[in-house]
């Protein structure tokens, strides 16, 4: 077990050390979300009615949740590359804990996700976002975000192991996750959607998590959203982590 922990840390370290050396990837996970924030607030902000909130206050929790779900893209791309460049074979020929490759990969995402949450929060604060929360609630919100992001890292881990190329990971991941983030309370109030979409949006883990974050950061009514978000994250991990691990075993043993 200590082997698993130390091997996981070694793999996580490797994935973090290499990140600043792939500037294009880094750009995608810092500049792009900031651009989205600015576009949404300045272009759509005036047209979307969010009763009780300024649009910037409404939007920041939503866009941070969307962004953190996509943080796992680094895992999808990284694993796919490792698989096709033979690095997974090298790892598997070493006397290391087998689970460490995936565990270390997803753990590294937690660190990058934390950084991207900070970048977006600072951006938000600059353009007028304000907390209505105590320190504990702010930190609790960040912790919830990291948990949710970690869950999605396993979704992307599975994706990266299934698809044939990093390009495919990119488009499949985008097609699968992007609509989910939009049919949620992330950008517009759910009440403004058609009935069928409303029903879907209300159970959507994105809505639940965004609502939980608004409860923590803005003092919005929490309902069951905080527990709901935690449960959703664990459900996603419970489904996708075993799938990714079994896929890893098979993909590597091909």
């Amino acid at each position: 077990m200590s082997g698993l922990v130390s091997d996981t840390m070694i793999v996580a370290e490797r994935n973090l050390v290499r990140l600043p050396r792939a500037p294009d990837l880094l750009l995608a996970f810092t500049v792009q979300p900031v651009m989205f924030v600015l576009l949404f607030v300045s272009v759509l902000g005036g047209a979307i009615s969010t009763p009780g909130y300024d649009y910037v206050d409404f939007l920041i929790p939503g866009i941070i949740v969307q962004n953190i779900a996509f943080g796992g893209f680094v895992t999808a791309l990284g694993l796919n590359e490792d698989l096709h460049k033979g690095l997974i074979d090298r790892f598997r020929s070493l006397p290391m804990a087998r689970a460490a490759v995936l565990a270390g990969r997803t753990l590294a995402d937690v660190v990058t996700n934390f950084l991207s949450v900070l970048v977006l929060l600072v951006t938000g604060l600059i353009i007028g976002f304000s907390f209505n929360a105590n320190t504990g609630e702010v930190i609790g919100g960040i912790a919830l975000l990291l948990l949710f992001g970690y869950a999605f890292s396993w979704v992307f881990a599975l994706l990266g192991l299934i698809v044939s190329s990093p390009e495919a990971a990119n488009s499949v991941g985008f097609i699968a996750v992007f609509p989910l983030t939009f049919v949620s309370s992330a950008f517009v109030p759910v009440e403004s959607m058609p009935d069928a979409l409303q029903w879907f949006a209300e159970v959507n883990p994105f809505t639940v998590t965004v609502d939980a974050l608004r409860a923590l950061w803005l003092g919005a009514p929490a309902g069951n959203s905080i527990w709901g978000a935690i449960v959703w994250s664990f459900v996603i991990i419970a489904i996708f982590a075993p799938l990714a691990v079994s896929r890893y075993r098979r993909a590597a043993g091909r």
Binding site: D7, I10, R14, F91, S93, L94, P95, M96
Partner: protein
């Protein structure tokens, strides 16, 4: 950890950590592996004595890479017994991974890490402390002439440098058995020669090497024994010399200074061969029985007969001849046809 300590012991003594007594370092018996309908390996058997090089020779898609993947515990065999340094590749897979090194036709290193970071990571995954792993990494970079590129990410390396780093990564734990899957495929001639020298040095130090290749000259130069694989089966095995002998003995070729002397030359040389010499464009050829003394005898006989000679030499059959006569097709005809593992 124990593997690295063991490796500092001179080659002869190392066998204590290897197979017991006279067991070969690698022995494979009746290995089969199918992928769906495709029978990639069909009852393959071969072995390699400790401290020798075994060459698996065959065209692309013959099953060489599958064999390496089974022997390095990456794949489970459908049937067969595989023992490496006395360990069962299935039952003792975990323990075996500490004793083997694998380098492939793709340089399996992280392009965004430096050479030293790559080697340090591998060392730490073998359970070494960071400082120890780093020191070992430096040592390998020096041995492999990569010190200048110490701090550069691998993506700036040339193909030859990457391959050297890949091989260095396989040697981090000083494994007694090394698996090299087409180590020189795609390398320029100079890098190829360098890699051959490196492999020969490792073997001189006592390492057992299993090498797959589709290059006959590579097998000829490096391998002590060769198993020729085609369509998942071993179709011939033995030393390069015995394989060549299967195609026929050596040929003495004599280029005459004056084609008018052809019949005298044939008459003079005939007693050296069981078959009648043949003449073609002023070159007399005959299959001789042995190698020793053949050239001297040929020269003496021709001199006694007063035949003037322009050039005279022994030509041995090459592994190309072997492959052609065994399989009916040329070994490298499918070069580049299939690049996937």
């Amino acid at each position: 950890m124990s593997t690295s300590e063991v490796m500092r012991i001179p080659a002869g003594a190392r066998r204590a950590s290897g197979p017991p007594d006279n067991e070969p370092a690698i022995s494979v018996d009746g290995l089969s592996k199918s992928f769906g309908e495709v029978r990639a390996l069909d009852g393959v058997s071969f072995e390699a004595a400790a401290g020798t090089v075994l060459g698996l020779l065959g065209p692309n898609g013959a099953g060489k890479t599958t064999a390496v993947r089974v022997l390095t515990t990456l794949l489970k065999p459908d049937e067969g017994t595989i023992r490496v340094v006395g360990l069962d590749a299935v039952r003792d897979a975990v323990e075996l991974r500490e004793r083997i090194g694998l380098a492939g036709q793709y340089a399996a290193v992280d392009e965004n890490l430096t050479g030293l970071e790559n080697l340090t990571m591998v060392g730490r995954l073998y359970g070494e402390r960071r400082a120890t792993a780093k020191a070992r990494g430096m040592e390998l970079l020096e041995n492999f002439d990569l010190v200048d590129a110490l701090k550069r990410p691998v993506k700036t390396y040339s193909g030859g440098m990457r391959r050297r780093l890949d091989l260095a990564a396989a040697l981090v734990a000083k494994p007694p058995v090394l698996f090299l899957d087409e180590p020189t495929t795609g390398l320029d001639p100079r890098s190829r020669l360098d890699l051959w020298n490196t492999i020969e040095e490792l073997v001189a130090d006592g390492t057992t090497v299993l090498l797959t290749t589709q290059y006959l000259d590579e097998a000829d130069r490096l391998a002590d024994t060769i198993a020729v694989i085609d369509h998942g089966k071993v179709i011939a095995d033995g030393t390069p010399d015995t394989l060549k002998d299967r195609v026929g003995g050596e040929r003495l070729e004599v280029r005459l200074a004056d084609t008018g002397a052809t019949s005298e030359a044939i008459e003079a040389l005939a007693p050296m061969s069981d078959e009648a010499p043949v003449a073609e464009d002023g070159v007399v050829k005959l299959t001789v029985r042995g190698r020793t003394g053949t050239i001297v005898e040929g020269v003496r006989r021709l001199d006694d007969a007063g035949v003037e000679v322009d050039d005279l030499g022994l030509r041995r059959p090459t592994l190309d001849d072997v492959f052609l006569s065994l399989t009916g097709h040329v070994a490298e005809a499918t070069d580049d046809a299939e690049v996937t593992s």
